[in-house]
C-alpha cells in the first residue's frame, strides 16, 4: 500500500458495562450448601443420564429441565490445563485490579489452571491446581479437592485441587 496512513483525531466515550444487572437461577445455592459440607452436588439429566457440575438447569440435548441432584466424588481427573507465566506486580490488570497488589497471587507466582472432571460427572470444572509444580501437571493426573478448613458456604470453600500422591491414597 503506497498511500500513507495518517493517524486522525480521536473522540472518546464509554460503555457503562458495569451498570448492567443480570439475572441468574439459584442453582449455585445448592453448590455452596454442598461446599459447606465439603461435598459436591451435581445435577443429573434423567433424559440422557449426564451429570453436570457445576449444575445445569436445562439439558439442551434432551431439551428439558433438569431437576434431579446427585452427590459426586471430590476426586477427579485433570482433562486439560494451562500454566501462566510468572505474574509480576504491575504487569496485568483484571477488572482494574492488580492481582498481586490485591493479594490474589503472590509476586512471581505461576498459576496452574486446570479442567477437572470429577468422578461421576460429564463436565469439566475450571479451578486451580495447588501443591504441585508446573512441570508435574499432566492430562490424566488424579486430583482431589482442597477444602477450606472451616467452610463457610462459599464457592471459595473449594480452594482448588491437589494431586493425589501415592502415599496419600489408600
Amino acid at each position: 500500500m503506497s498511500k500513507e496512513r495518517k493517524e486522525t483525531l480521536a473522540v472518546e466515550d464509554t460503555w457503562p458495562i458495569g451498570a448492567y444487572m443480570y439475572k441468574g437461577p439459584k442453582l449455585y445455592n445448592e453448590i455452596v450448601e454442598g461446599f459447606k459440607r465439603k461435598k459436591i452436588i451435581a445435577s443429573l439429566c434423567t433424559g440422557c443420564g449426564r451429570v453436570f457440575f457445576p449444575p445445569r438447569n436445562i439439558c439442551g440435548r434432551c431439551w428439558r429441565k433438569i431437576d434431579a441432584r446427585r452427590e459426586v466424588s471430590d476426586v477427579g481427573t485433570i482433562t486439560s490445563f494451562t500454566i501462566s507465566p510468572e505474574i509480576k506486580r504491575g504487569q496485568v490488570k483484571v477488572l482494574g485490579l492488580d492481582p498481586v497488589e490485591a493479594g490474589i497471587v503472590k509476586d512471581g507466582e505461576r498459576l496452574i489452571m486446570v479442567y477437572v472432571n470429577f468422578d461421576g460427572t460429564d463436565t469439566n470444572y475450571a479451578t486451580v491446581l495447588l501443591n504441585a509444580k508446573p512441570e508435574e501437571v499432566h492430562v490424566g493426573m488424579r486430583v482431589k479437592a482442597v477444602w477450606k478448613e472451616k467452610p463457610e458456604g462459599l464457592l471459595s470453600d473449594m480452594e482448588g485441587v491437589e494431586p493425589i500422591r501415592k502415599e496419600s491414597t489408600q
Binding site: M1, R5, K6, E7, T8, D13, W15, I17, Y20, Y22, G24, P25, L27, Y28, V32, A42, S43, F52, F53, P54, P55, R56, G60, R61, T79, S80, F81, T82, I83, S84, P85, I87, V92, V94, L95, P99, A102, I104, V105, L111, M113, N117, T121, D122, T123, N124, Y125, A126, T127, V128, P134, V139, E152, G153, L154, L155, S156, M158, E159, G160
Partner: protein
C-alpha cells in the same frame, strides 16, 4: 427452491491499525472495492447483510449510522452477528438471501475496529462474553484466584484456547513445535497478502519459538493480533453471475452449534469434556460437502481457508473438515503439504493468526476462497487450478462453526 448463486466481487481494506479512518469510512472502503470488483452499479444491490461484534468497537448497530456510506438507504439491511463466526454467518445470510429468490444482488460486509477500544487487544469485547457469569459467581463468594484464572490470568479467549490447545496436543500427539510451524507459515503467507496485518517474510518456527509463553502451551507468537478492518463480498444470482468472467459459485453452505465449550449461562456446567472434539464442525462440514456433492474432500478440495486465531485450530479444524485423518494434520504440516504450493494449501492468505478484525475474519475466509477460485489472489494465489475451496469459521466459545464451499462451476 435452490437456485445457483455466486460470489462475483470481493473487497477488503488493508487490515491493521486503521486510525486514519472512522468505522463508517472503513466499512465503505471494503464495500466500494467489492462493488467495483463485481463491476456492478450500487443501484444494482437489492439488500445488504452486515455484521460485527458491537462491544468491540463501542457502537450499537453501527450500520444505522454507517449505512449511508454504503448505499444502505432504501435497501433491506440485515444485521447478523454470531461471535467469531460473524463474517461467515453474514456471508451465508447473503447467500440465502439470493438463493431464496427474494433478492438478486446482495452486499455482505463484516468489520471490526479494535483500535477504537481503549483496552488492549480485544479484551473489552471478549471479557463481556463471560462477564455476567463472573458477576454471578461473585454472588457466591467465588475465589478471586479461580476467577482471575478464568478471566484474565491468561486473557479471555487465549484462556479457552490454551485449554483447547492442550486437549488437541493430548489427542493428536503433536508438540508445541508444530504450533510454531503453523504460526510461522501464517506470518510468511501474510507477507504475500497486501491486506494482512502481521506480515513477516521468511518467518521461521525458531523465530516464533523465541517469543515468550503466554499461557502454556501458547506463546505470544501463537496469538492473533487485534486488527482493524472490513471485508465484503457481492453475492449474485446465476443470471447476473454469468456476466462475470470467473465467479466463485456457492456449492455448499452449513452452520452448526454445539453445547458451549467452557461454561453455560450463569457459569453452569457443560457436557463437553474435550473441547477439541468439535463435533459441530464435523457436522457442518459433512452437510456442506454433501450439498456441494463433494465425496472425497481430500481429493476434491484444492484450498482451505480456516479460521485459526490460535495455531492448534488450523490443525484441529483441518481434520474436522476432513482434509486429514483425525490427529494427523501435523504430519501433513511437517511435510509441507499445507504450504501455498503444497498439496492442500491452508490459509494461503495468512489466515486469522496474522489478521483478526473479528467481524471481518470469517468473511475474509469466504472472500479469500473466492479470490483463489477467481484467480485474483495475487502473490498468495495457489499455483494450481482451484476447482473447490472451503471457507471455515468458528464462533461462540468455539462451539459455532460455519462452512462454505465455493467452486469454479455451479452446483448441479
Amino acid at each position: 427452491m435452490w437456485r445457483n448463486v455466486a460470489v462475483i466481487g470481493v473487497g477488503q481494506t488493508k487490515h491493521g491499525r486503521r486510525r486514519d479512518v472512522n468505522t463508517a469510512e472503513m466499512i465503505s472502503e471494503a464495500a466500494w472495492r467489492a462493488i467495483e470488483d463485481a463491476e456492478i452499479a450500487p443501484e444494482d444491490i437489492d439488500a445488504i447483510v452486515i455484521g460485527n461484534m458491537q462491544g468491540f468497537g463501542g457502537i450499537c448497530q453501527a450500520e444505522l449510522w454507517a449505512g449511508d456510506w454504503i448505499g444502505a438507504p432504501g435497501k433491506s439491511v440485515l444485521r447478523v452477528a454470531t461471535g467469531g463466526t460473524t463474517g461467515g454467518s453474514v456471508a451465508q445470510a447473503a447467500m440465502y438471501s439470493v438463493i431464496s429468490g427474494l433478492y438478486d444482488v446482495v452486499l455482505a460486509i463484516g468489520f471490526e475496529k479494535h483500535s477504537d477500544s481503549k483496552e488492549p487487544g480485544a479484551t473489552t469485547g471478549l471479557a463481556h462474553v463471560g462477564l455476567a457469569n463472573l458477576f454471578y459467581m461473585f454472588n457466591y463468594g467465588a475465589p478471586m484466584r479461580a476467577l482471575f484464572a478464568l478471566s484474565g490470568g491468561v486473557g479471555a479467549a487465549a484462556g479457552v484456547s490454551s485449554y483447547q490447545a492442550m486437549f488437541y496436543m493430548h489427542r493428536s500427539g503433536c508438540r508445541i513445535e508444530h504450533y510454531d510451524m503453523v504460526a510461522a507459515k501464517s506470518r510468511r503467507n501474510a507477507a504475500k497478502n497486501e491486506y494482512a496485518h502481521l506480515q513477516w517474510p521468511n518467518c521461521t518456527p525458531d523465530d516464533i519459538a523465541k517469543t515468550p509463553m503466554v499461557a502454556y502451551p501458547l506463546r505470544f507468537g501463537h496469538i492473533c493480533p487485534a486488527s482493524d478492518g472490513a471485508s465484503a463480498i457481492i453475492v449474485a444470482s446465476e443470471e447476473i453471475a454469468r456476466r462475470v468472467d470467473r465467479p466463485a459459485w456457492v456449492k455448499g453452505l452449513a452452520a452448526c452449534a454445539d453445547e458451549e465449550n467452557q461454561m453455560g449461562e450463569n457459569a453452569q456446567g457443560v457436557g463437553i469434556l474435550d473441547t477439541s472434539e468439535q463435533l459441530q464442525c464435523r457436522i457442518a462440514a459433512m452437510k456442506a460437502y454433501e450439498m456441494a456433492k463433494i465425496r472425497n474432500p481430500r481429493e476434491e478440495i484444492d484450498v482451505a481457508e480456516i479460521y485459526q486465531p490460535f495455531p492448534h485450530q488450523e490443525l484441529m479444524y483441518a481434520e474436522k473438515l476432513m482434509l486429514f485423518d483425525d490427529g494427523k494434520a501435523w504430519i501433513a504440516l511437517e511435510e509441507g503439504e499445507t504450504e501455498i504450493d503444497g498439496r492442500i494449501p491452508i490459509d494461503p492468505s495468512g489466515g486469522v493468526l496474522s489478521t483478526n478484525a473479528i467481524g471481518s475474519s470469517a468473511m475474509q475466509r469466504v472472500a479469500e476462497c473466492a479470490l483463489q477460485i477467481m484467480g485474483k489472489a495475487g502473490k498468495h494465489q495457489v499455483p494450481k487450478d482451484v476447482k473447490n475451496a472451503v471457507a471455515h469459521g468458528w464462533g461462540g466459545s468455539t462451539n459455532f462453526t460455519v462452512v462454505t464451499v465455493l467452486g469454479d462451476a455451479p452446483r448441479r
